[in-house]
């Protein structure tokens, strides 16, 4: 076998932070062959992106390669400088970033940005570069490329921005493309299109690609070889099928288990040993609802219009029974967050009514709802755990706050007991209670957020994408926790999410929203197996499924 295109040997990268030196990558060794697409998978903090940045020499000032070498075509990248380095960038290897919109210069026309990249490496006229840029836009399948040349990033959708980014990255025909979470932040339907395009272009131009992602499913779909990283180390390297069917490393096992699939159930998401007492709860049959019991929540023809423009939500009706879990699905801007906040009585609907436990609460102004006796019955868990905790409150304060306000407990033993009880229920170690949010991990913060929401024993819990910002392994645990709480307390859940896999597992019924209007609703399993509308079908099909054979393998056949 010839020399690989890229060979990373025992790479160590260290960051100097205010807490001292932190080793982000500790001894990574891997190789990429020409034309190959390699998946580099890991959860946050695993060092996968740092490896990518070290390879392209784009680490920020605080990070340094302390040991090892990165051989690109036999040349050690870590020792390059000046013009050699500039030639490396773009011409030899280039990078695609997550969040394409911020990765493009907001005040420069996209055509100009592509031309900039071309002119850096080729001595051609501006006109020629312009023409070449136009060609590239065509290559990345942007419609109406002549017009788009003069467009600014804010005038393009996220998917289009990512295409432009790809055009910039391939503008000088690099031999190696490093794609760092290229589809994170895009809507699920766009994700697939962009990834397909990327894979096609890489294959057509014979570029080697490193796909850095947290999503095993995505990597499995496009790569022949996947390496898994955990805490700066490379733990396993295998073909996708092997990796899924026979993971060897315990971390890989956990990761594979936690990645939801079309058929996985919540209890499957964690490995046997972690499952513990949860299994029994799940096995307990759900109490049948007494016939004629009114539903817990009835929402009638809810609508919300903001100051100007079209309605964010229109004619939204639904019911939830006690102990039932309902999923609310839609892409960004579909109005699902607005709806959840109206139900949670944080904002006032423009029209329609909300009836809770037989009483209308839709007309109580949200301004005064904090005095309503139902306040403690409807609680909410918020999206980003990093932003959902008051930075000045300890975990204990966070959980105690609703107890003090809504139950009327005073600082003292009773309160402490309640808080500890809540913490235990969500599996939060008690010794973390005196900590402030920035001293907790994402999963721990999510638990605090849930503990706070269930502290007053609400009857309806509204969850606004509670796991969107979490790693899959943490997500698995949180989902399981939510399901357990529902079953134990007969808690009704309204689960707002764009992640269909998750909704399918957790929710009995699902409502699909688009542009503020209900597109489809019904039993989750039925809805996902047989979508009735095109929109739902599109959503379902876009989910990366692990079982699917890798696209490249299929193409090769």
């Amino acid at each position: 076998m010839t020399q690989p295109l890229l060979k990373i040997d025992n790479l160590h990268v260290t960051f100097s932070t205010r807490r001292g030196l932190v080793e982000a990558v500790r001894g990574v060794t891997l190789a990429v062959e020409p034309g190959e697409m390699l998946g580099l998978v890991g959860e946050s903090g695993s060092g996968k992106s740092v490896t990518g940045f070290a390879t392209t020499r784009l680490l920020d000032a605080a990070g340094r390669v302390t040991a090892g070498e990165i051989l690109f075509r036999g040349q050690d990248v870590t020792k390059l400088s000046g013009d050699d380095l500039r030639h490396l960038h773009g011409a030899a290897m280039s990078m695609i970033f997550q969040n394409p919109r911020s990765a493009l210069n907001p005040i420069r026309a996209v055509g100009q940005q592509i031309a900039d990249a071309i002119l850096t490496h080729k001595r051609i006229s501006k006109q020629a570069a312009h023409a070449e840029a136009l060609e590239l836009l065509r290559a990345v399948q942007i419609r109406d490329p002549e017009r788009r040349m003069a467009a600014y990033p804010h005038e393009l959708s996220g998917g289009m921005c990512q295409r432009v980014m790809i055009a910039i990255a391939i503008s000088c025909n690099p031999a190696l493309l490093i794609a760092d979470e290229p589809t994170t932040g895009l809507d699920v339907t766009t994700q697939k299109v962009v990834m397909d395009l990327l894979a096609d272009i890489a294959a057509a131009r014979g570029m080697a690609t490193i796909l850095i992602t947290h999503d095993l499913g995505l990597a499995a779909r496009y790569c022949r070889r996947i390496v898994v990283m955990e805490r700066g180390r490379l733990v396993e390297e295998a073909a996708p099928t092997t990796l899924f069917n026979h993971p060897r490393h315990p971390y890989t096992k956990r990761l594979v288990a936690a990645s939801p699939t079309a058929h996985s159930r919540i209890e499957d998401l964690v490995t046997e040993e972690e499952r513990g007492p949860y299994a029994e709860i799940v096995r307990k049959p759900k109490l049948p609802q007494a016939p004629g019991t009114p539903p817990l929540l009835v929402v009638q023809k809810l609508a919300k219009r903001f100051d100007q423009g079209a309605a964010a939500v229109a004619d939204f009706s639904m019911t939830i029974a006690a102990g039932e879990s309902v999923g609310l699905v839609g892409e960004s801007g579909s109005g699902k967050s607005t709806t959840s906040r109206m139900i949670c009585r944080l904002i006032d609907p423009s029209e329609g009514d909300i009836v809770f436990d037989g009483q209308s609460i839709g007309h109580v102004p949200s301004r005064d709802f904090h005095r309503s006796p139902f306040r403690k019955d409807i609680q909410m868990v918020f999206q980003d755990p990093n932003e959902s905790l008051n930075p000045r409150f300890t975990a204990h304060d966070c959980i105690a706050h609703p107890l003090k306000r809504l139950v009327g407990l005073r600082e003292g033993d009773a309160l402490r007991q309640r808080v500890e009880e809540c913490a235990q229920r969500v599996g939060l170690p008690l010794d973390l209670l005196p900590r402030f949010p920035h001293q907790l991990s994402g999963g721990q913060k999510a638990r605090v957020g849930i503990a706070r929401a269930i502290a007053c024993r609400p009857r309806l819990l509204v969850l606004d994408e509670p796991t969107a910002a979490l790693d899959v392994s943490v997500q698995a645990v949180v989902l399981q926790l939510l399901d357990r709480l529902r079953r134990e307390d007969n808690l009704a859940l309204l689960f707002v999410s764009h992640d269909l896999n998750v909704v399918r597992m957790l929710c009995e019924r699902t409502i699909v929203l688009r542009n503020g209007v209900i597109v489809e609703e019904g039993d989750s399993r039925a809805l996902f197996d047989n979508p009735k509308t095109d929109y739902t079908r599109e959503l379902v099909e876009a989910i990366p499924h692990i079982e699917i054979e890798t696209k490249l393998a299929a193409a090769a056949l």
Binding site: R18, R19, R341, C344, L346, R367, H370, R371, R375, K376, I378, Q379, M380, F382, Q383, D384, P385, E387, S388, L389, N390, P391, R392, F393, C398, H401, P402, R405, L406, F436, Q439, G449, R452, A453
Partner: protein, 282 residues
């Protein structure tokens, strides 16, 4: 909290020794402000015309002024008043601005627009002239200098607080507080306000220096504190008259004191901004 904050601060200080120096400067300024009257060699107000306009010497470290008063002693004693003017003026606008601005940023509706208009009116004023007019209208007492300085600072604080709250008002923890049974008012006062305080404190420290300069400017046009109270601004303003006759110590020392105080506050503010957000240091 404290231990990490301390470690954090030390980390910042190591990268930025100026902040440490500034902090030491501010501390000594506070020390002087508190103990000034007990450590001065001469009575700062007692005149001795036979000793007027002496250049600096071992006896009078910073020379004497027109009335034979010891400039050094006056400088030391003035620290308290200057600090008091600056701190109270800035605190006044800080408190008012923070509360009003927070409510505006949170409410973001008609209230916001109304107050926004009002702030526009104030910003459209030539501020120093406004301060002059206010002191002239109310009389040049220390309180009025403080009020005038506070008023001309107010729009900036309102805007600042408004912006800071505006970015936070839709965060999860704010909504969580509401679903935990807090009213809008207590969300603003007890949740948002404490959270924007650190950022505003930076602004305060930068403004402290500015407030001192403002008082000095007022003194220069004759609207400063009353004689014979020692105050740096008025000492500089009086001393400036003697530049042309070569009696440099009358303007140099008060000027230096003023400069050092303002410098320390500014550098400290800068440093504090570092501690809060290393990237946004301006």
């Amino acid at each position: 909290m404290t231990s990490t904050a301390l470690r954090h601060s030390i980390w910042i200080l190591r990268g930025n020794p100026l902040t440490g120096v500034a902090a030491a400067g501010v501390l000594s300024l506070i020390f002087i402000a508190i103990f000034g009257p007990w450590i001065v060699p001469y009575d700062p107000i007692a005149s001795n015309v036979s000793q007027a306009l002496l250049p600096p010497s071992a006896e009078h470290l910073a020379g004497t002024d027109q009335l034979g008063r010891d400039v050094f002693s006056r400088l030391i004693v003035a620290a308290r008043l200057d600090l008091a003017i600056a701190v109270s003026a800035v605190s006044l606008s800080f408190v008012l601005g923070a509360v009003v601005g927070s409510f505006c940023g949170y409410a973001a509706g008609r209230l916001d627009r109304t107050v926004g208009r009002f702030v526009d009116v104030m910003m459209a004023f030539p501020l120093f002239v406004l301060a002059m007019a206010m002191v002239a209208a109310l009389g040049n007492r220390v309180e009025n200098i403080i009020i005038a300085t506070a008023v001309i600072n107010l729009p900036f604080y309102i805007r600042f607080a408004r912006a800071e709250v505006n970015v936070r008002r839709n965060l999860g923890w704010v909504e969580a507080a509401r679903s935990s049974g807090e009213s809008h008012i207590s969300v603003v006062l007890r949740f948002l306000l404490p959270n924007i305080l650190p950022a505003m404190a930076v602004q305060m420290s930068l403004n402290l220096g500015w407030a001192i300069l403002n008082a000095a400017g007022l003194s220069f046009i004759g609207l400063g504190v009353k004689p014979p109270t020692p105050e740096w601004g008025i000492m500089v303003a009086e001393g400036a008259r003697f530049i042309s006759t070569g009696r440099w110590w009358l303007v140099a020392f008060p000027g230096l004191a003023l400069m050092l105080a303002v410098l320390c506050f500014n550098l400290l503010g800068d440093g504090m901004r570092d501690i809060l957000d290393p990237r946004m240091r301006t």
